[in-house]
Symmetry: D2
Subunit: 350 residues, 4 copies
C-alpha cells in the first residue's frame, strides 16, 4: 500500500552507514561513549546554539518524557485536540508525568492560535488549586493536518507562554518537513521563535529507531528540563546500554544534510501528489498540503479508479470519507505519477 505513512519506510543509506561506522570496538555504556558525547556539539552546531540532547527510541518516548519534564505534578499541558500526544500516544504523557493533564483546544488546520491559548489561560487562574495548572504548551510542527505554523504564529504563542512562565514544547516528528517548507534554518524554526524543548523526529525521516529530546540552553527552563531528562530517563526505560547506535543515527541526520534532503524530497512528492489530485474533478483538499501529508476527500469515481488499478487507500477512523496520503524520504516519483494516473482513470499497473 502506497503512501500509508512515513513510518513504514526502510532506513536511509546514510543512517545505515553511520550505524556500521560505529560498530567497532568497545564503548562505554549508557551514553558515556564518544559517539553520544558528540551529540550536544553536533546538534549545537546544527541549531546554532548550545543544546542538551537526549536520544530516545520512539517519538512517543520523546514526547512523553519532554512533557513529563515540563509538567511536574500537578502540571498540565495545553495542546491541539488532534495533537499526536492526545490522539495517538495511549496516555503516555499522562503516565510518564504522574498524572499530567492534557487540556485540549480546537483550531483550524491542526493549529493552535496564540489567542485561543491566551483565552484558555485567562480562564485558569494559576493559583486555583483544583485545576492542574498549565505549565507547558505543546505544538506540533508540521501539524497533524499536514500544515505548518508560520514563524510569527509560533513567536506569538511563545510570547503567551513567556508571559505566564510556561514552557513551549514542539513535537517535531516532522520538524524537518516543516523547516523545509518554511525555508528557514534550524535555529529560525525553533529557539529563535521561542521553542524551549523539541522532540526532534528522525525515525519518520529515514532513521531506524532514534528520536531526540533537544533542550535549548538559552531557555530559562533549560536547567530544570535537562536535570529531569538526565535523571529520569533511566527509570523510564529509555537509557540504552549501547547508546552509540542510536546516537549515530541522530548524527547522520543532522550532519551532512541528510535530514534536510530527506524532508525536502518527501515534501516535493506530497506537493506533486496534492496538486495532481486537486486537478481531478470532485477531489477536495481538506487542508493545504504544506509538508509530506495530503488530506483529501475523494469522490466515489476516484476511489473506484484507484481500486480498479489495485491501489489501496485507508479511510481515517475519525471520518471515513477522509484519506491521508503520506510521502517519505524514499517516495518514488513514478509511484506518485502512477497513483495520479490511476486516480484520474488512466490505466496503469498498481
Amino acid at each position: 500500500m502506497l503512501f500509508r505513512s512515513d513510518n513504514v519506510t526502510a532506513v536511509c543509506p546514510q543512517v545505515i552507514a553511520a550505524i556500521l561506522s560505529v560498530n567497532e570496538g568497545d564503548a562505554a555504556p549508557y551514553g558515556a561513549d564518544e559517539v553520544t558525547g558528540r551529540l550536544d556539539a553536533a546538534f549545537g552546531a546544527y541549531f546554532g546554539t548550545e543544546v542538551f540532547v537526549h536520544p530516545v527510541a520512539t517519538g512517543i518516548a520523546a514526547n512523553a518524557l519532554a512533557l513529563a519534564a515540563a509538567m511536574p505534578p500537578p502540571g498540565a499541558a495545553i495542546c491541539h485536540e488532534n495533537a499526536h500526544i492526545n490522539t495517538s500516544e495511549s496516555g503516555a504523557p499522562e503516565f510518564f508525568s504522574g498524572g499530567g493533564k492534557l487540556i485540549v483546544l480546537a483550531g483550524e488546520h491542526g493549529k493552535l492560535s496564540a489567542e485561543a491559548i491566551a483565552r484558555r489561560l485567562a480562564s485558569l487562574p494559576p493559583d486555583r488549586l483544583q485545576s492542574a495548572p498549565p505549565t507547558v504548551v505543546s505544538i506540533t510542527q508540521g501539524t497533524e493536518a499536514g500544515t505548518v505554523y508560520r514563524l510569527d504564529e509560533i513567536a506569538a504563542i511563545a510570547e503567551v507562554c513567556r508571559r505566564r512562565g510556561l514552557v513551549l514544547h514542539m513535537d517535531g516528528a516532522r520538524f524537518e518537513n516543516a523547516r523545509a517548507r518554511l525555508g528557514v534554518s534550524p535555529a529560525e524554526a525553533s529557539w529563535r521563535v521561542g521553542v524551549d524543548i523539541l522532540s526532534y523526529g528522525a525515525t519518520k525521516n529515514g532513521a531506524m529507531c532514534a528520536d531526540a529530546v533537544v533542550i535549548f540552553r538559552a531557555s530559562p527552563h533549560a536547567e530544570a528540563l535537562n536535570r529531569f531528562m538526565g535523571q529520569r530517563r533511566l527509570r523510564a526505560g529509555q537509557v540504552f546500554s549501547k547508546m552509540r547506535y542510536l546516537s549515530a543515527q541522530l548524527l547522520a541526520m543532522v550532519e551532512g544534510g541528510t535530514a534536510a534532503h530527506n524532508a525536502a524530497h518527501a515534501n516535493a512528492m506530497a506537493e506533486r501528489l496534492s496538486s495532481g489530485l486537486a486537478a481531478i474533478p470532485g477531489v477536495r483538499l481538506v487542508h493545504p498540503t504544506e509538508i509530506n501529508e495530503v488530506f483529501v476527500v475523494l469522490p466515489d469515481t476516484v476511489r473506484a479508479n484507484l481500486a480498479a488499478a489495485g491501489f489501496a487507500v485507508r479511510p481515517r477512523p475519525e471520518d471515513p470519507s477522509l484519506i491521508r496520503l503520506v510521502t517519505a524520504w524514499n517516495t518514488r516519483k513514478e509511484d506518485v505519477e502512477r497513483f495520479l494516473a490511476a486516480a484520474a482513470g488512466i490505466r496503469v499497473a498498481a
Copy 2:
C-alpha cells in the same frame, strides 16, 4: 459570602449525631468494624439492589478511584469538557489510573448526549493500539451546569456503553439533588437506567468528610470494579483505620431520609433564588436551574445593588460576567429573600 458553594457549610445534625453514636468502645480497624459492615446492606436497601460500598474521604478520591477501577491501563474515559473530573481534580483521575486519558466532549448545559458519545466512539476503533481505548463514560448528575440528565438520556448513554462494553460511571456529587428534581427513587436514578458505578456524594449534602463509591452488583463489570476498589484503596491512602466514623456519616445520609431531605431543601432554595433573579430586568439565566446551583449573568445595576447591600458575588474564572450561586442543606429562606430584595434594589441588611 452567601451561596458560595455547598461545600462551605457545616455538618448537618443527623451526621453529627451518627458520629457521636459510634464513639463508644473499640472497633476493628480498616473497615472490619460493624458500622462499616452495615454499609452494603444499608445502601443495598436504599438502592433496592445489591451493592458494594467503599467509603472515601473526598469526592475527588471517589471519582479518581472509581475511574481508575474502570480504566485500567491503557484505558480512557469519555466525559464532558466541563466535568469536575476534567476541570477541578488536578489530574487525580489520570494519576490514580496510571495515565488514564480523559477524552472530552462538548455538550449543551453540561450534558453529554448519547449521539455525541457514539460518534466519538465510532472514530476510535477499539483495536487501534495508539489510542487509549475508551473503557468508561463518566457523566455528572446533577451536572456542573446545575442541570439534570433525564432518565431516558441516561438510558440512551448506557445503551451506547453496553454495545461497546464500556462502564457507565456517574459522578454523583449532587446525585441527591438530581434525584429530588426528577422525583424518582435511588434505583430509578442509577442502576435501572444503566449506571454501573456511582460516586455517591455526601459531603456537599451535609456530611463532614465522607463520600462513597457504590458499585451495583447487577452490573456485568461489578466484580472487576469491586476487586480493584477492595485491593487498591489502601495503596491510594483511602483506607481509614477508624473507618466507622466515615461509615456512620454515610449511613446517616441514606437511613432516615436525611439525604433526600437535605437535597430537596437545597433545590427549593435554588429554585426560589433562580425565579426571583429571573424576574429582575436584565438578569439572564444561563442554564435552567434544576438542582441547587443557579448560573446567571447579572447586569451592572444588579451587581451594584448587591454590592451596595454588602453582598459579595464571585465571577467565574472562565467567564467574569457569569455568577454561580449555590444553595445547601442549611440555606435559610430569609437569606434568599434578602439577597433577592437587594438584587432588585430594595434596601436590606446584608
Copy 3:
C-alpha cells in the same frame, strides 16, 4: 479483644469537643478556612519553630506524601526493613512518588543505625545513573518494635543525611509516645535533632481521621518539600472541602496538652503490662517496652491461662510465637490488671 491496636479506639473527648466547636456557620473550602489557618501558628508554637502543616486523613497518606515530596523521581528512601512504610502501606510510597524505591536495612529492635546508613550510602555513588539515588532517610519514632530512638541516635543519623544532602523524615505515628518516653519537648524530639519533615500521628493517639505532615521551616529542604505538598496534595485526593473538621482535630491534640497526656497514659499502661508479664515465668520480652507496645513470646501455659479466661491474643504473621499488645489513650488500668492476673493463672472475668 483487648490490646489489639491503638487504632481500634474511640475518639477522645477533647477531639470530639473540637469538632463540635467548629460546626457553626460557613467556612471557606479546601483549607482556606480560619481553623486551618491557625494550624501553622499552633504547631509552630508547639514545636517552638516555624512550620508548614498539611492535614491528611490517614497515616499512610501522611507518609506517602511526605516521602513523595522527599524523593522526586528518580529518588529513593532508606528505611528499616520492618518500617511501616515498607511492610504495611501496600506500596503507597512507591505509588505516590512515581516509582520511588525503598532501600531497606536491618537493625536491632526496629532501629536503623547511623553507621548502617552511612555504609549503604557509601556503596551507592550519588552519580550512578542506574541506582535510584537515596534522597531521604525515613525513621519511625517510636519504632515498629515498640522502642525509641535516643536523641543522640537521631542526631547521628541526621548528620549522615546532612553530609549527603538527604532529607530526614520521621514517621511519627507514635511520635508522642516516644516523646513522652524521652521526656523531651516537641522541639527536642524533632527539628533540634535534625528532622526535616514529620508525619505527625494523631489518629492512633485519640483523633478520628487526622494526621499531619509537618515541615520544619528551618530545614534547608523546607521550601521544596512545602511546595510539593501544597501543590500535589489535591491530585492525591487529600485536600478536604470541609477541612476545618480535620484541622480542629489536630489543634485539639497539640493545644491544651491532649496529645502528651494521651500518650503518657498509653505508655504507662504498656509499662505495667510489660513488667507484669515479664514477671510471669516463661514469658520473654522480645523488645524493651519503651512506648505503648509490648512484644512478648508467651509460653503455652500462659496462652492457655489467657484462653481459659476468655482473652484472645493474635500471633504476628511474621512469627506465630510472637504477640504484640498495644495500649492506647483510653486503656483502663483494671483491664491491664485483669489481663495480667489471667496470664498468671489467677481466675478473672475476661
Copy 4:
C-alpha cells in the same frame, strides 16, 4: 578497559546482517510487519512450546514491563537483594507497575532459595490488606554474582510459586550464558522448570538494542500477562514504528545458533580468566565462575602488576576490594592471556 561489561561490545555480524536484510521496502508499522510476525513462531520453535514475544529496546524495559504485567496494583515482587531490578533499574519496576513493591531477600552467591521464599510468603498472609501481596517471584539467570541456578533449584522455587498462585519471572539478561553452562535446551532452562515469563536478553549477547519479553503460553498466567503486554507497551513508550529492525535482531539470535554460540564463547573466556587468576597467589574468587562474569578480590601486588601493564580495573561501589570482570561474545583469547600474564607480573603490552 578490558572486561568492563558485556554491554560495551559492538554488535555481532549475524545481527548486523539481519538488520541489513530487512532494510528493503515498506513494512507495516508498530509490529504489524512480517518480520515481527515471525517472532512468536521462531521463539516457539526455539523454546519448543508456544510463546508470545514482545520486543523492547532495553533490558530495563523488559524487566519493568514483565514485572508490571505480573504485579498489577497492589501486587509485589519477591527478589534477591542484589537483583538488577532492585539495584540497577532506578525504580523502573516500581514506576511501570504503578507502585509495585519489591520485597528483597538475601541469599548466597546471588541466588534465592525456595525455602527463603516460602518462609517470607508464610509471614505475608495473602489477605492482609496493608501488605502489598506478592504476586510474582523474580530470579536472575545467570545471577548478578555470575552463578547459575540449577534446574532443580528453579523447579523448587516454581513449586512455591505454584502453591500460592504466583508468577515466576526470570530476568534472563544472561539466560544464554546460564543455559550454555547448564548444557540444557531453552525449554529445559525455562518453562519446563516452571518459568512463566522471561526477560530474554539479546543486547548483552551481541545484539544492538533489542531484548524480548517471552511469555510461555502453557503458563496459567499467560493470557493475563500477554493482554497486559499487548495493551500496555505503547503507553510505556516501547512500541516501535519500525519494529522490524528490533525483531530482526531477536530472530538473528535464536535462529542459526548465534545466541548459543556467543554465550558459550563468553563463558569459555570467563572460565579461562577465572582459573588463570585463581592460580595466582593471593587472588580470591568471591563467587564460583559459572557464566561470563568473574568476581575476584585481588591482592595489592596483582593490582600493581595490572596497573604497571596499563590494565585498568574498576572496584565495585559496594566493596572497593571487589573486582568484576566480564567477558563477551567477542572477547579475544589473546586479551585474556595478556591480562593473566600481566596479573601474574609477567611483562606484556596492555
